[in-house]
Assembly symmetry: C2
Homo-oligomer: 215 residues x 2
C-alpha cells in the first residue's frame, strides 16, 4: 500500500516510520520539496521511503495521513490538492491546538464544529476518518505501552472506517480497543478531549497515557 | 455534617439521598420553597432530610453541592446568596450543556473558560471544587458499577480538595481512582470531555460508563 504522510513533526515521522516498518511505501510531504526533516527521514527510512511537497506526497499516496499541526491542516491539505485527495482515505490525526495565547492552548475550532468536519467539508470527495488524535505519537504506534486502552473512530464512510480499523490493528491496537463514535461530527468529542489530556499530562507527569472506556 | 444540595433533578436527588445514607443532614434547595420534587424527596428520605429555597438550603449547609443544570447554575447560586456560600466548600458537579440548538448539545462555556471558573470568580469567598461532572448520577454514588475508573478534582483550595477526596471515598471511589488536575481552570478539561462522553453514550448504548486513566 502507498501512503502519503503530510507533516514532518514527531507525529508525521513516527507514523511514517511505522508504515514503512509494516511494508508500505511512504512519501512524507511538507511545504517545500527540500524540507530538511523530510530529506533526513527518507534517507534513514530506507527504500520504501520518499519525500516531496504536500502535493507530491498526496499524488503518490493511495491513502493520506494528515499529521500536520491542526491549525495549519486546512492550508496543508489545500496545498496537497483536492484532486490528489479525491476518493482517497484521509486519516486525520491532528488537533487544532492554538498556542497563540500561551499555555494551556485553546482549540481553534470546537463546540459546534471540529477540524475533522472542516476537512470533510472542504474536501467532500475525500473519505475522512478521524482517529488517534487522543494519544501522543509514541502511543499511536505502540499502544501496548498503555494496555487495553481505547482508540476512537469518527467518519461518515463506513468502508473507510473499516480500513482504518485494520490499520489500527497493525499498529498494535486490539480489536476490542476500537470504539466507533459515529459520523465525522463525533470528532468534536475526541478533539474537545484534548484539554483534559493536557491537564492529565500535567498532573501525571507523563505523556504516555491513555484512557480505557469501561461500561 | 450539614449539606445543602442545590437542584432537584436526578443528580440532586441522587447525591442528596447518598449524603443522607452516609448520616449527613441534607437540605435540598430549589427555586421555590414548595417545589414538589423537593417536598417528595424530603418526605421520603427521613429525619435527616429537609427542603427549602436555594437560599434556605445554602444557609443551612456547612458545605454546598451545586447539582443544578449548568446553564442555570450561576442564577441558582446567586439566589442561594454569596453570604450563604462564603467560606464554604462548594462542590460543583454541573455541566453547562446547552440544548437550545438540539442534540447533541453544545457547551454554553468552554475553551478559554469554564463553569467552574465562572462560579469561583462570581463567588470568590466560596471554596469551589469541580468533581464528578464526568459521570452520570448513578455512577457518581455507585462507582463500583465501572470498577477502577477515574474521577477528577479541580480547585484552587487544596484543603477543600482534600475534604472532597474523603467524601468521594465515602461515595465508593477508591483512593487511587482520584486524579487531582490542579487549579479550578482545569475544569475546562473535564467540562470539555462531555461531548466525548455523550458520543460514547450514543455508541455504547449505556450511560453507565466511565474512563480509566492508564499511564
Amino acid at each position: 500500500m502507498k501512503y502519503a504522510v503530510l507533516g514532518t513533526g514527531q507525529v508525521g515521522t513516527t507514523i511514517a516510520t511505522k508504515l514503512v516498518e509494516l511494508g508500505n511505501e511512504v512519501t512524507i510531504g511538507s511545504r517545500s520539496a527540500d524540507n530538511e526533516k523530510a530529506v533526513a527521514w527518507a534517507a534513514a527510512a530506507g527504500d520504501l521511503a520518499d519525500h516531496g511537497t504536500f502535493s507530491d506526497a498526496a499524488a503518490a499516496g493511495e491513502a493520506v495521513f494528515n499529521c500536520t499541526a491542526g491549525i495549519a491542516s486546512l492550508d496543508a491539505l489545500r496545498a496537497a490538492g483536492a484532486d490528489n485527495l479525491s476518493g482517497k482515505l484521509l486519516i486525520d490525526v491532528a488537533n487544532a491546538l492554538d498556542f497563540s495565547a500561551g499555555v494551556p492552548p485553546t482549540l481553534a475550532v470546537c463546540n459546534d464544529d471540529s477540524l475533522g468536519e472542516q476537512i470533510q467539508r472542504q474536501f467532500p470527495d475525500a473519505r475522512v476518518v478521524k482517529t488517534l488524535n487522543t494519544v501522543n505519537a509514541s502511543v499511536m504506534v505502540s499502544p501496548q505501552q498503555v494496555p487495553e486502552t481505547t482508540v476512537f473512530l469518527s467518519g461518515d464512510d463506513d468502508a473507510a472506517k473499516a480500513q482504518v480499523r485494520v490499520l489500527l490493528e497493525e499498529f498494535g491496537w486490539s480489536p476490542g480497543s476500537v470504539v466507533d463514535l459515529g459520523g465525522i461530527s463525533s470528532a468534536r468529542g475526541t478533539e474537545m478531549y484534548l484539554p483534559l489530556w493536557l491537564r492529565m499530562y500535567g498532573a501525571l507527569g507523563t505523556a504516555t497515557l491513555n484512557i480505557r472506556v469501561v461500561h
